[in-house]
């Protein structure tokens, strides 16, 4: 019997040979027809899936240079000059503050509010900084030349979702994106998994920082007056205990009352269900409990003050545990958590679950089995190198199969960013464009549940959101969308010549996919718009808000 992986590799070679930029010798495949994509169409498809849509002229440029060359360069983002984004991001003040700075800033803002200084300076700055986190993601997606890298960062931000609105996560979240996720977006899955497990943002979001072995008590609470420190800032502050003994005792008693009393399973459950094995990954409730025991003591040094990771050995359960039939012998501390994460990262269920989600993002809401198999095979070969997994998906025949072209509906982020890119738009540093994304239903980093934003069209397509998309399209085309300047001239010069406008819009915005119906409707509308500037805005607005542009 034929080796299925080999057969698919052969198919794929045949498939990409026709793209005009593939160096290997072509082979024929009996199983699948090679795609009939022209270099133009394959460039458009790649830009729709591995980037946030083409900027004016980009489809032709990618087609001319060879789409597989472009993909290879995207897979090595460090080699791509990204000066434009670097120059833009230095304007974001949020990148200059660490979690501690942010904590102090927000504390000052709260104080200001308490003292009823409405619209005080500090509070205003706090709000601006919070908005900058979201806007930064939109700006990078719109302007970066490392498009595939930005797509991957967004994928991981959802896979390892943290809701930035939960208490201290407002302070802890910026470093989560910048220091935990971004450096590892194209790395080994195990490294990413360990980094998220240790991140204060995740520890706070899924409550693991409060998970303690039953009966354990921090040393400061059992040894009076030894050292004035508190361990769990459950109120607003952890000022430490008073120097006055009677008051210190009462503070200690209150702190003890508020102490977490046992294990918290939240992180353990989501780690298995969402981050690694998947809901059908074959674990039991007992496994969840054992995993939670392993992570007891993984905590945060004063979350309300933006502190970093801290392992509390007093809170750790040093007993024996068994997870998925694997024994973790007694007497181990933090090391057993790392061992468990490495184990989870290497299990077939994890490879399958995460690969499937990647295929869902890059190929189809209902990913073909073959695509997932390719990704899993690459995962095994490369010990979970995400760059190789993505490479395998993109080189697989399913990625280029006709039934998967334009099969995905854009998320609000993808819609807004691709529209901005299509009109040569340049977003500013105010959070206004991110607010547009939020209004369309996808406030970035503010998905409450740990499953992250879904990759299924049903989550995004509803009547209210569709009308909003049309309004955004019309406003953007007219240059009226706040927070972004558009360069329509790079797309089409203003003219009252309807045929010329439609050709430019079809080519520049719809990649040549304009349907007869769309052509007819736009032509009818243009007949009533004699002014060249208004006519161009109308044609662009209808194209961006119409059904073709909602797909990628």
């Amino acid at each position: 019997m034929q080796n299925p992986v080999l057969a698919r590799l052969l198919t794929l070679t045949a498939a990409v040979a026709s793209l005009g930029a593939w160096q290997s010798a072509p082979h024929q495949s009996a199983q699948r027809q090679p795609p009939t994509l022209t270099p133009h169409d394959s460039a458009l498809h790649a830009l729709n899936r591995l980037a946030y849509g083409p900027r004016p002229g980009e489809v032709d440029a990618v087609a001319a240079g060879g789409v597989m060359n472009w993909i290879d360069r995207q897979l090595s983002p460090d080699q791509l000059d990204d000066r434009l984004v670097a120059e833009r991001t230095v304007k974001f003040r949020i990148l200059r503050y660490d979690s501690g700075d942010l904590a102090r800033l927000y504390a000052a803002a709260r104080k200001e509010r308490r003292e009823r200084q409405q619209g005080g300076q500090v509070e205003q700055m706090g709000r601006q900084l919070a908005g900058e986190v979201e806007q930064l993601a939109v700006v990078r997606a719109a302007l970066s030349r490392r498009q595939l890298y930005e797509v991957m960062v967004d994928f991981w931000a959802n896979h390892f979702n943290v809701f930035f609105g939960k208490g201290a996560d407002r302070v802890l979240a910026p470093s989560y994106i910048e220091e935990t996720l971004r450096p590892r977006a194209f790395g080994k899955f195990a490294d990413l998994l360990i980094a998220t497990a240790r991140s204060p943002a995740m520890l706070f979001y899924l409550d693991n920082w409060e998970s303690v072995a039953p009966g354990s008590t921090p040393p400061a609470l059992t040894r009076p007056r030894l050292h004035a420190r508190s361990w769990f800032g459950r109120g607003r502050y952890e000022p430490g205990f008073s120097r006055e003994p009677a008051q210190a005792d009462s503070q200690r008693r209150r702190a003890l009352e508020r102490m977490p009393k046992g294990i918290n399973e939240n992180y353990a459950r989501e780690l298995l269900e969402l981050h690694t094995l998947g809901v059908d990954g074959g674990y039991t409730q007992q496994d969840v409990v054992e995993v939670a025991r392993i992570f007891t003591g993984w905590s945060i040094k004063r979350p309300q003050q933006g502190g970093g990771f801290e392992f509390h050995d007093w809170a750790h359960d040093y007993g024996e545990k068994t997870v998925l039939g694997v024994r973790f012998s007694a007497g181990h501390g933090m090391d057993e958590g790392v061992r468990l994460l490495k184990l989870l990262a290497s299990l077939p269920a994890t490879m399958h679950h995460v690969s499937r989600k990647l295929c869902q993002r890059l190929v189809n809401d209902e990913p073909p089995d073959g695509c997932v198999d390719d990704a899993v095979a690459a995962w095994e070969r490369s010990s979970g190198d995400m760059r190789e997994v993505v490479r395998a998906i993109v080189r697989g025949p399913d990625f280029w199969a006709p039934e998967n072209i334009r099969a995905k509906v854009k998320t609000p982020l993808e819609f807004v960013v691709s529209a901005v890119r299509a009109v040569g738009g340049d977003p500013d540093t105010t959070p206004r464009l991110a607010q547009v994304v939020a209004r369309l239903g996808q406030p970035l980093y503010r998905h409450v549940a740990p499953d992250g934003y879904p990759e299924r069209e049903a989550a995004w397509v509803n009547s209210g959101a569709l009308l909003d998309r049309m309004n955004v399209a019309v406003a953007l085309a007219a240059g009226r969308l706040p927070g972004v300047t558009v360069a329509l001239d790079s797309l089409a010069l203003a003219t009252a010549d309807a045929e010329q406008l439609m050709a430019a819009v079809n080519d520049g915005i719809l990649g040549g996919t304009m349907s007869d119906n769309t052509r007819r409707v736009i032509r009818e509308q243009l007949a009533e718009a004699p002014d060249p500037v208004a006519a161009r805005a109308l044609a662009v607005g209808l194209a961006l808000g119409g059904p073709e542009f909602q797909r990628r």
Binding site: R456, N471, G545, P547, E548
Partner: protein, 420 residues
């Protein structure tokens, strides 16, 4: 066609049973196919309005146990004096700023349920709101909200574009899910926006034609819904709306939301479930007593509800308004003349079908021995029993276990807020 378990769970066994293994958009399209309601049906369509008091309202100062001396002992600076309370039954009384609701209490269309809350012990706003909206306390991974699950499972009622509407910029968690639901920030701005009416109509027609001719799948069915909604609303003409019976809504977000809900109800647009947020209840500092911070929020709530009832007039007989909040606040006041995160709270139920004029639920008392974790008002009614009763007895829901997975609602435990 492979269908993941998550999708299966989300779309529900019933949906798959009814639609075979059709893609979700077909299910949605079928769910959403709109037929104009016959006038008689429209008249008797029951409506549920949910108001979420985000930030955890102090139930003990909203509905005051003035007959209990411990209440005054624990709150020397923030207790509402018995002389100020609007007495209800000799033991409980409304905060004086809720006085506008007293006539509704007297005519039995306002009820209170006290000591209601979540079985989960969390004191995190985030987690507790999440649980109250997902309807699954303690389970974080539930993808959809209980109001959406109700809409999906209850097929007795026809879907119209305005069946489930949340007032605000984004769809809240409670309405997230696969049943179509709308988030509307402003009824007048719903639809295509253009400087003049003629330009707007032309733009609307253009997009309608674009989608009618070129859209496929879910894009097609949803856009159809969208343009139907625009048309329906245009006929109802929200810009011309004037509240009836000289009802005066308070200024601010709540008043605006309630007025727009009344518009949708009176316009017979098929509204069944409405949702709005009321913020500003997290009173850690300087909460106030008869006057002050909390009093101002309660005044807005009371005036809003009273205006809504007045505006609806006879229509109130089909409507139930339910307030909810993620948890209550500490029995004892804190060092900042406020209250911290507690456990049980009070919820208000208003409307024609309400078994009003009484405080329902078992009152656990403020005695330290009966407190939750020794400090907070104990929960004696699981919020799912309250929500479940309203869904079953008011909206006619038949399958509550699908709406609250992992929970078996039992009519014996229903607090009795709906008149039988």
């Amino acid at each position: 066609m492979s269908i993941s378990r998550r999708v299966f769970i989300r779309s529900g066994g019933l949906a798959l049973f009814s639609f075979g293994l059709d893609p979700l958009f077909l299910a949605r399209a079928a769910l959403a196919s709109y037929r104009p309601l016959p006038p008689t049906a429209a008249l008797s369509r029951p409506v549920l309005v949910c108001l979420f008091q985000r930030g955890a309202v102090d139930g003990l100062n909203m509905v005051v146990p003035h007959g209990e001396s411990l209440y005054y002992g624990e709150r020397p600076r923030i207790a509402v004096p018995a002389s100020d309370v609007v007495d209800l039954d000799g033991h409980f009384g409304l905060h004086p700023q809720l006085a506008a609701l007293k006539p509704l209490w007297d005519n039995k269309s306002l009820g209170v349920i006290h000591a209601v809350g979540s079985p989960d012990s969390t004191r995190s706003h985030f987690d507790a709101q999440d649980y109250m909206e997902s309807g699954t306390p303690g389970v974080k991974s539930t993808a959809d909200g209980w109001l959406n699950r109700y809409c999906r499972h209850d097929r007795e009622h026809e879907d119209t574009p305005f069946r489930a509407v949340a007032f605000g910029p984004q769809l809240p968690r409670i309405l997230a899910g696969s049943a179509p639901s709308l988030a509307i920030d402003d009824l007048q701005a719903f639809g295509l926006r253009a400087p003049q009416g003629a330009a707007r109509d032309r733009l609307t027609r253009a997009f309608e034609q674009l989608y009618a001719g070129s859209a496929t799948g879910l894009l097609s069915s949803s856009s159809q819904e969208a343009f139907e909604a625009v048309q329906l609303l245009q006929r109802a003409n929200p810009a011309q709306y004037r509240p009836a019976n000289d009802a005066e809504y308070p200024r601010g977000r709540l008043g605006r939301s309630l007025q727009q809900i009344a518009q949708l109800i009176k316009g017979n647009l098929g509204l069944q479930v409405a949702f709005a947020d009321v913020t500003g209840w997290d009173t850690h500092v300087n909460q106030g007593a008869s006057e002050g911070q909390l009093a101002a929020r309660l005044a807005e709530l009371g005036q809003g509800l009273a205006a809504f009832a007045r505006d609806l007039g006879d229509k109130l007989r089909d409507v139930v308004v339910l307030t909810m909040s993620e948890f209550g606040r500490t029995i004892r006041e804190n060092g900042n003349i406020g209250t911290d995160h507690g456990h049980a709270t009070a919820m208000l139920v208003m409307g024609g079908p309400v078994n009003g004029g009484r405080v329902l639920g078992r009152w656990p008392g403020l005695d330290p021995a009966s407190r939750f974790e020794g400090r907070d008002l104990a929960v004696t009614t699981d919020f799912r029993d309250l929500f479940g009763e309203v869904l079953a007895r008011h909206l006619g829901a038949t399958d509550l276990s699908a709406v609250f997975p992992g929970f078996t609602p039992n009519p014996v435990r229903f607090p009795g807020v709906i008149r039988s």
